[in-house]
Symmetry: C2
Subunit: 492 residues, 2 copies
């Protein structure tokens, strides 16, 4: 079988692009920077969305939907926010086209110019806080715990499928609270929702941390994040949860009356994850032959491939075994398919399901069946076993669990091996080039040093880990005193 993908070791970026395109996750589109999410990629996103949505609802949040468009003036109301987002937004200026009088198709109708331009939302704090002003009067209206599933647009010059696209799908939680402490608790609670989801469902270990001032969300007092390590040693920010203080309440004049009849500004949080997580799953686990998907999120978890011979009785028997197995697995909630398409040879099917990352493949061969066995192949380790037919369903269920935990453990081992303590600038640069990953190093706490390190090394501070050990040390660049190590990496 011809090699479908570039090897990771030859060109990691090319491998990633090949894989996303050829496994049917996504495609380029006619619109610069925007992608088409294909059925396999969308199904993966749906499973992520459904699980996250369940967790949001379990923690008391409700979904709602706010407009796609934001009046231009709203962006300017929060000073830091406009700096962060005005530079990369799609601007709607007109609301009508008309036939080109010169016969060149359609042109923008100059008479249909908007009085105030509309921005396609890059994030929805402004339009939502403008609405919350009407919804919040008293402490009885708080907390207000709302989430939105939506598309957003940030005009990006350099895009990569899933990781950085002009339009992407995400969820954005926007909550309002009566006290600072409650808002901070919410911020951390949602970070933990993301972290456990990443670890338990994506099989991707993450560092829970807080961003430095330089890397904060535009308008936040604190940005919490989860950071994951990809196979090439680059970090990927997988989710953020922002404590917004009273910044947006002040910008949009949202106050409430407390139990003592005093008015105060409302405290806010926002938090989001996006289709970027699809890219994270690909990069965290997949190999040179295709996707390796964690069973809990794989659109298809088990595929059964028959290998028929000319014996019609064997065909009947294989069909019967497959039907029984399907029934048992489906009863146990497994997403399973029996691929008995005659027009495709088994070898081709094997390669295709390998490429698409189906965790378990069961081959029902006419000869094996005579011996009451079937071949069970696992995608993660590529191991194969012959399993007694009467144990096939139970084995498969256990295997799905094993693959999920094995994938997590493998990724965790990789991260442990590729997290290095460095104490000198020479080591810092050497490790970055020779053994890239997380670098745990002292930093003097100033934005200037952080900026300088970024210039010199292209590494950024990914986060200050939560519950970080305090440890006296010296900044890896300036030698100035430092109280704790922070995590550096080159990042997506």
């Amino acid at each position: 079988m011809a090699k479908i993908l570039t090897n990771r070791s030859d060109d990691y970026a090319q491998w990633y692009n090949d894989l996303v395109l050829k496994s049917g996750l996504a495609d380029y589109s006619a619109v610069k920077g925007c992608m088409v999410i294909k059925p396999h990629g969308y199904a993966l996103w749906e499973h992520m969305r459904d699980e996250l949505d369940k967790r949001f609802k379990e923690t008391g949040h409700q979904n709602a939907y706010f407009p796609l468009f934001i009046p231009k003036s709203f962006l300017s109301k929060e000073a830091a926010h406009v700096e962060g987002f005005a530079k990369e937004c799609a601007v709607v200026t007109h609301y009508r086209l008309k036939n080109d009088p010169n016969g060149g198709g359609v042109i923008v109708d100059p008479e249909a110019k908007l009085e105030e331009e509309l921005i396609v939302r890059p994030t929805s704090e402004t339009i939502i806080w403008n609405t919350y002003k009407d919804w919040i009067q008293s402490y009885r209206d708080l907390p207000l715990l709302i989430n939105q599933w939506a598309n957003v647009v940030r005009w990006e010059m350099r895009t990569r499928l899933f990781l950085r696209t002009t339009e992407f799908l995400w969820q954005e939680g926007h909550t309002a609270h009566a006290t600072r402490d409650e808002a901070i608790e919410e911020t951390r609670k949602m970070l933990e929702v993301y972290a456990t989801f990443a670890e338990e469902y994506m099989a991707m270990p993450v560092v829970r941390g807080v961003k430095t001032a330089n890397e904060r969300f535009a308008g936040a007092e604190d940005t919490y994040c989860i950071e994951a390590l990809m196979q090439d040693g680059k970090a990927l920010q997988a989710g953020t949860s922002h404590f917004l203080g009273q910044n947006f309440a002040k910008a949009f004049d949202v106050t409430f009356q407390d139990k003592d009849n005093k008015r105060d500004y409302v405290w806010a949080t926002s938090w989001g994850v996006s289709t970027r997580l699809v890219g994270a799953i690909v990069m965290a686990h997949s190999d040179d032959d295709g996707l390796v998907l964690p069973p809990k999120l794989a659109p298809l978890q088990v595929v059964i491939v028959p290998i028929f011979n000319k014996d019609p009785e064997a065909v009947t028997r294989i069909n019967k075994i497959a039907a029984d197995l399907m029934a048992t697995l489906k009863l146990n909630g497994v997403r399973v398919k029996f691929d008995n398409d005659d027009n495709t040879r088994p070898g081709f099917k094997f390669a295709e399901y390998e490429l698409k990352g189906v965790p378990v493949r069961i081959t029902l061969g006419a000869r094996d069946i005579e011996n009451n066995i079937a071949e069970v192949a696992r995608r993660d380790t590529k191991g194969k076993e012959s399993i007694q037919l009467d144990n096939l369903a139970a084995h498969t269920l256990q295997l799905l669990t094993d693959i999920q935990s094995n994938m997590y453990q493998k990724a965790l081992n990789f991260r442990t091996e590729n997290t290095t303590k460095v104490d000198t600038w020479d080591d810092f640069m050497k490790v970055l080039d020779e053994k890239p990953g997380f670098l745990s190093a002292h930093w003097d706490g100033t934005p200037e040093t952080e900026e300088k390190i970024k210039e010199l090394s292209k590494a950024t501070i990914r986060c200050i880990p939560l519950n970080n050990e305090l440890e006296d040390g010296k900044c890896v660049l300036t030698g100035k005193p430092s109280l704790q190590r922070v995590l550096f990496a080159r990042a997506y």
Copy 2:
């Protein structure tokens, strides 16, 4: 209790607006014509979406996601399509803002002008068929059965919450087929999916029909539709399914090689329903005291309200009864809430749940409990019954089923009573004014007569019903011969 809503008989349009706003379905937004879908409205939409999505998947469709933006030139490629959509679209012309040098916040950066303007999708045929060109080469790639859940924008001058908004949420199916017959079969199949969903879930009877040429989707060869009757006698188009012929395949040059190695253009369908359906549910069933929601779609199906007295033993007993009842109902998949909030009086709760359309309310009163009974109130008829506690769960489950079918039957009776055969123009105008609803009348089949009738009466041909009886007659306006009756109505 003060009257919350305008009565339907006083001002139907005002009643609708009051109800949507006060029951928490939606709110106006700062962006003209765009609404905020509030948690109660969004939960209703989620239940509709989930059930429809299940039905799409059961009929072999997969979800995908295509870009929000469409290059302006794409719209012009299908001649009829551009006529239909160019007049009402949001146009993105720039991709950056900058600080106003005169200090007035931010302004559009004139240097960030797009070479080709982008249209915010009003519907996605063009961007999708431009993509299908790359996905379809051979008959093996067909049929291609894809659906997308998305937001779309159509610039509307006159908007109404849910029924007609500039931005709305919808799904749009886009399928590609090897033959004309298969595409027509798909078009009709999806119409039937919509129709059964409307009847079985929304409890809303619909007429399945086909549109006249005047009312066709821009770019379709045939538009099938489901039409429902609202309580004010106006019709509402609740879903459409389009047979697009080879129009979009030709516009975007999408051909396939058939089994005999011949190339032909691909046949297409598209079909959609939107958040307009939320408005349809409201208008079809609700009353002067609030929403009346069909149990299968109601975000909350049963609410249990305790009426405590000072006796702590009674409190304990009520809490125990409520907990047991909740457990049994939840096991049966019922969405149920026990509202034991001390800060709100029972009367206030009753009005609130009535307004929000909760189908069943169970009151656990301290005195009733002593007699081993509870009061069960149904929202649709406002009937109340005293039910033995040991029969409470079973009664509630049966009641939910009864309410669902009663609501359907009531709406069906209403439609039957308000569908009138008319044979003269005088009758036509008289019935329209005195007993509005569907008018079943003969029409000579010409667009000119259709247009004239619309001018004179504001009634349009809603559809030519499928499986229509043939019947010789004379056009209600021109007296020219006609072979069948069609359905007229004033419509939303």
